[in-house]
C-alpha cells in the first residue's frame, strides 16, 4: 500500500495572525510550522505501517506551497515519511479552496496512492474540506473527521461523529481520508530522524510537471474573491447588574434568556 500524506505549512499557532489589509490575504509572515492537524495524518500512516495488517511500501509527504513549505516536508519526514514532494509555483499563489483542491489532486495523481491522509483542517485557512475536493477530482471515495480507522486488505473501516451520533463506514481503497484530532496522539520525532530529514529525497514539481492548467489555479483561476475584511461586529460590553435581591436578579436573568429565545 502506498500512502500519501497531504501536509501544509501554516503560521505557528502562537503567532498573532492577521490579514494584510493591502492584499486582503492572510499575512503569512512570522514563524511557520507543520500544520499540527496534519501530524495526526502522518501518525495514522505510521500506525498502519507499524500495525502490520497491510504492507506499506511507501509513505510520501506531499505539500503545495511557497519555497519555505519545504520545512513542513522536513518535519513530516522526521515523523516517518520516506520521501516528500513539493508542488511549488508562482502560478499557484492566491489559490482558493477550489483551485487548491484541483492542484493537489493533480500532483497526487502523479503519485497514484492507495490511500491519501490529511488532517481535518488547517490552522490558517480553517477550511475543513480540501480532502473532499481532492477526492472528487481523483474519483476516490472519501470521509472526513475520521477518529478511528482499521485497515484490512483493500478496505478501511472508519468511525466518525456525524450529525446524529457515531457512524461506522466501510470504504474501499483507494480512498481519501481526513482524520480528526482524536484519532491518535502524534509521536515526537527522534533527534536522529530530525537530523536525517534533509537527506531524504525531496522532489520539487511545478504546475507543468503534473499537468495543472494555469487558468484553473492562482488568484486569477480562483472562483471566489475576497471583497473585504472587517473587524467583527463590536461586542458591546453588555449590561452588568449587581445582585442585591436574588429573586429579582433571577427574574431579570430569566427574562433576558427568554427574550433571546434561549428557553425554548
Amino acid at each position: 500500500m502506498k500512502i500519501c500524506c497531504l501536509v501544509k505549512e501554516v503560521p505557528d499557532a502562537a503567532v498573532q495572525k492577521r490579514l494584510d489589509p493591502g492584499t486582503k490575504r492572510l499575512d503569512r509572515g512570522g514563524e511557520r510550522n507543520l500544520n499540527p492537524f496534519d501530524t495526526h495524518g502522518i501518525e495514522a500512516a505510521m500506525q498502519i505501517r507499524e500495525g502490520g495488517e497491510v504492507e506499506v511500501t511507501e509513505i510520501v509527504a506531499v505539500t503545495m506551497g511557497p519555497e519555505t513549505a519545504a520545512r513542513a516536508l522536513h518535519k513530516a519526514v522526521a515523523l516517518g515519511a520516506d520521501r516528500s514532494v513539493h508542488l511549488t509555483d508562482d502560478a499557484l499563489a492566491g489559490s482558493d479552496v477550489c483551485a487548491t483542491g484541483y492542484a493537489l489532486a493533480k500532483v497526487l495523481e502523479s503519485e497514484s496512492p492507495d490511500l491519501v491522509l490529511l488532517g481535518q483542517q488547517s490552522d490558517d485557512g480553517e477550511c475543513y474540506v480540501v480532502g473532499a475536493v481532492v477526492a472528487d477530482h481523483l474519483k476516490m471515495p472519501s470521509l472526513t473527521q475520521v477518529i478511528q480507522m482499521d485497515v484490512s486488505d483493500g478496505k478501511l473501516r472508519c468511525e466518525r461523529q456525524a450529525e446524529y451520533g457515531y457512524d461506522t463506514v466501510e470504504i474501499a481503497l483507494p480512498a481519501v481520508i481526513s482524520v480528526g484530532d482524536a484519532i491518535n496522539e502524534p509521536r515526537y520525532p527522534s533527534l536522529k530522524a530530525i537530523m536525517g530529514a534533509k537527506k531524504k529525497p525531496l522532489d520539487t514539481k511545478s504546475t507543468g510537471d503534473v499537468g495543472i492548467e494555469a487558468d484553473r489555479v492562482g488568484a486569477d483561476g480562483s472562483q471566489t474573491q475576497v471583497l473585504g475584511i472587517n473587524p467583527p461586529p463590536e461586542k458591546q460590553a453588555g449590561e452588568v447588574i449587581e445582585d442585591e435581591d436574588t429573586n429579582e436578579t433571577v427574574e431579570k436573568i430569566v427574562a433576558w434568556l427568554d427574550e433571546r429565545k434561549l428557553l425554548a
Partner: protein, 567 residues
C-alpha cells in the same frame, strides 16, 4: 515580621544529575563535529564563524562527519526565547559579516539621540550631563529575537544544522573530558511519567562542545560545580520585563530612567531602572529591570512596569498605542568577579551570558557573546586542524582574557555593588568608578547571592495599578502575548521546595512575571506562617528568576515556552 532568606530553603536539585557518561548503546549515539548548546547570539555567531572557516578546510570538514556543526536550541525557533533591550555595539556583526552593511542587519535604527531621566512619582528630570555609561551613539537598536532568526538563517544557509525544539539536558563527560550532550526527553506528563508518545532523548557525541545557554546556564552552572571553576563571586541576576507597543507618534530617542518606581532606601535594596527604545517609525519598546536582591517579598517587576506606565511622561509616549508584545528574562549581573575562573575544560567552552559576559552599567552583552562565539569557533578550528582528536581549547580562554570582554568587564567590576548602599550613595560611587575607569575605589567589592537576602512582606504592591486592559495588564494576559501555548500537562521543570514560610512563597508569587507560583486560596488569608506553593509550570516563560531567588529552573520539554517575535 520575621525576616527569612530563600537560600534557607534550597530546591530539590543536584547538579550531578546533569553530568555523566553517555547511556545509549554505542551504535545508537548520534555524532556531530561541534555541538553548540543554545541558538542565541553566542551560539549562532560560533556556528556562522565555524561554517565560514570550514569552507576553506575541506579535510577538517570531512573529519567532522556528516553533521559538522549542530546548534541545539530549546525554543521553537532561534529567537523564540531571546529577549533584550537592545542597543547593540556593532563590532561583532562587523567581524562576523564584514561584507554586510548595517542596513542589511535586522536593525531598527542607529542611535543618534539618547537621554537619561531621574523619575519621581510625577516628574521626569533629565540628567544632564548624561551618565556616560548610558551613551549609545554609534550603536544600533535591535530586537534580539529577530537577531536570533537572522543569524540562524545565515548559519543554516551556510550548512549548519539548527535543531530547534531540542534541549540539552545533560553534559556527557567521560574521564573528566566533555564528549557531548544528551538531549531531553519528550512526552512526559507533569509528574514526569512517560505518556503514550514518549520519546527518549539521545546522546549527541561531539569533538567540541560549546555552551552558549544564556542566562539560564543549565549545563554551564552544573559544569562550574563539577569542575570547580566557579568565579570568585556567586552569580547574581536582574529581572527584566518588557513590552512592545505600536504607537502613532514615533519615539525619537533612546531613553533610560532611574529612580521611581524603585525605592531609594538601602533596606529595600532596589536596584534597577527602565529603558524605552524606538523600534522604527511605528513601534517602541519599554522595559523595567530590577536586581533580584531586593528584600520586599511583594515586589513584582511585572507590576512595577504597569505602574511605571501610569506616569504622565510615559503615558504620553504610549498615547493612542496598543501593546503588541511582551516578554521577561533575567540578565546576569555579577560582572567580572562572577565570571568562571576558567572558561574552558577539556572538550568544552562556555560563551556569552552563560559565562556572565555582561556589562551591567552599560547594559551590554550581545556583542560580547558574539565575540566569544567567534573566538570559540576560531579556537576549535585551530586546535582540531592540528589534531582532530584534541580536546584542548585553551586558545579560546586566552583570546577572551586578552580581549575587550575581559577589559570592559574588569573596568566595571565593582559598579553594581555600591547600590546596596542605596540610590544616592550608590550612584555617586558608581559615577566615580566610571570616570576613573574602574581605578577608584578599586579592589574587589564582594557580592552575595540574591537568595541570601532576607525577605519580608512590605508595601511594594501598594502602588501597583489594577489592570485596565488598555494601558495596564495582568500577568495571564502578558503570558498569552508571549506566544506561550505550552500543553497543560507538560512536565514540571521548576524545582522548589513546596512548603515554605509565607514570606518566601510570597516572594516567588510576586516575583514571577508569568504567574507560575500560587498560594492555595484557602491558605491566603488564614494567617498560617508556612504555606504550600502550587506550580503552574505551563505558564513559565523561562526567564530564570526562580534560580536567583531560591529555586532552580531546569530544562523544560523542547519547544515549550514563549515564541517571542520581536522583543
Amino acid at each position: 515580621m520575621a525576616a527569612i532568606a530563600p537560600e534557607q530553603f534550597p530546591p530539590p536539585f543536584d547538579p550531578d544529575d546533569y553530568i555523566g557518561p553517555p547511556t545509549d548503546a554505542e551504535d545508537e549515539r548520534l555524532e556531530v563535529g561541534v555541538a553548540i548548546v543554545g541558538g542565541g547570539p553566542a551560539g549562532l555567531a560560533c556556528a556562522n564563524r565555524l561554517m565560514q572557516l570550514l569552507e576553506d578546510e575541506p579535510e577538517l570538514t570531512e573529519k567532522l562527519g556528516e553533521v559538522p556543526v549542530a546548534v541545539i536550541e530549546k525554543g521553537k525557533a532561534c529567537g523564540a526565547h531571546l529577549l533584550s533591550g537592545a542597543n547593540m555595539v556593532p563590532s561583532a556583526m562587523r567581524e562576523l559579516f564584514p561584507e554586510m552593511e548595517p542596513s542589511q542587519w535586522p536593525i531598527y535604527q542607529e542611535v543618534t539621540d539618547d537621554a537619561v531621566y531621574l523619575m519621581t512619582k510625577k516628574r521626569a528630570l533629565p540628567l544632564v550631563p548624561m551618565p556616560p555609561n548610558f551613551k549609545n551613539h554609534g550603536n544600533y537598536t535591535i530586537s534580539v529575537a529577530k537577531l536570533g532568526r537572522f543569524l540562524a538563517e545565515r548559519a543554516e544557509e551556510a550548512g549548519a544544522y539548527i535543531l530547534t525544539e531540542t534541549t540539552a539536558d545533560k553534559l556527557l563527560v567521560e574521564e573528566r573530558i566533555v564528549r557531548g550532550v544528551r538531549s531531553g526527553d519528550k512526552g512526559r506528563d507533569r509528574e514526569g511519567k512517560e505518556l503514550g508518545n514518549f520519546e527518549p532523548g539521545s546522546d549527541l557525541m561531539a569533538k567540541a562542545t560549546v555552551l552558549c545557554e544564556g542566562t539560564l546556564g543549565h549545563l554551564s552552572y552544573a559544569a562550574l560545580e563539577y569542575y570547580d571553576i566557579a568565579g570568585q563571586d556567586p552569580q547574581r541576576w536582574e529581572l527584566g520585563v518588557k513590552e512592545v507597543w505600536e504607537v502613532p507618534e514615533p519615539l525619537t530617542k533612546v531613553i533610560h530612567t532611574m529612580g521611581w518606581p524603585m525605592r531609594k532606601g538601602a533596606r529595600h535594596n532596589e536596584f534597577g531602572g527602565s529603558f524605552i527604545y524606538p523600534m522604527g517609525e511605528s513601534k517602541l519598546c519599554l522595559g523595567m529591570v530590577i536586581g533580584l536582591d531586593y528584600t520586599d517579598a511583594t515586589v513584582s517587576c511585572h507590576d512595577m512596569l504597569q505602574e511605571f506606565k501610569t506616569h504622565p511622561f510615559i503615558r504620553q509616549l504610549l498615547e493612542g498605542g496598543k501593546r503588541v508584545g511582551w516578554g521577561a528574562k533575567t540578565i546576569p549581573s555579577g560582572g567580572y568577579w562572577a565570571m568562571p575562573s576558567k572558561l574552558t575544560v577539556p572538550g568544552m567552552m562556555i560563551c556569552g551570558d552563560a559565562a556572565g559576559m555582561v556589562n551591567i552599567p552599560t547594559l551590554k552583552g550581545i556583542h560580547y557573546a558574539m565575540h566569544a562565539g567567534i573566538y570559540a569557533a576560531e579556537a576549535i578550528v585551530e586546535s582540531l586542524k592540528r589534531d582532530p582528536d584534541s580536546v584542548d581549547f585553551s586558545a579560546y580562554e586566552r583570546r577572551v582574557r586578552g580581549s575587550l570582554i575581559e577589559k570592559d568587564l574588569y573596568q566595571s567590576r565593582n559598579m553594581r555593588q555600591p547600590f546596596e548602599k542605596g540610590f544616592f550613595v550608590g550612584g555617586a560611587i558608581a559615577s566615580a568608578m566610571t570616570i576613573s575607569r574602574g581605578a577608584f575605589p578599586g579592589g574587589h567589592w564582594d557580592q552575595e547571592p540574591d537568595a541570601d537576602h532576607e525577605m519580608s512582606i512590605g508595601k511594594a504592591a501598594d502602588g501597583y495599578p489594577k489592570p485596565d486592559g488598555k494601558l495596564t495588564f495582568d500577568k495571564l494576559g502578558s503570558v498569552f502575548l508571549s506566544g506561550n501555548a505550552t500543553r497543560d500537562d507538560a512536565p514540571n521543570h521548576v524545582k522548589i521546595q513546596r512548603h515554605v514560610p509565607r514570606e518566601i512563597a510570597q516572594t516567588w508569587v510576586s516575583m514571577c512575571p508569568a504567574a507560575v507560583y500560587e498560594i492555595p486560596e484557602a491558605q491566603l488569608g488564614n494567617g498560617a506562617t508556612t504555606v504550600d506553593v502550587n506550580v503552574v509550570a505551563s505558564n513559565c516563560v523561562q526567564c530564570g528568576a526562580i534560580t536567583a531567588k531560591g529555586g532552580r529552573l531546569t530544562m523544560p520539554e523542547g519547544g515549550d515556552g514563549p515564541l517571542y517575535q520581536e522583543v
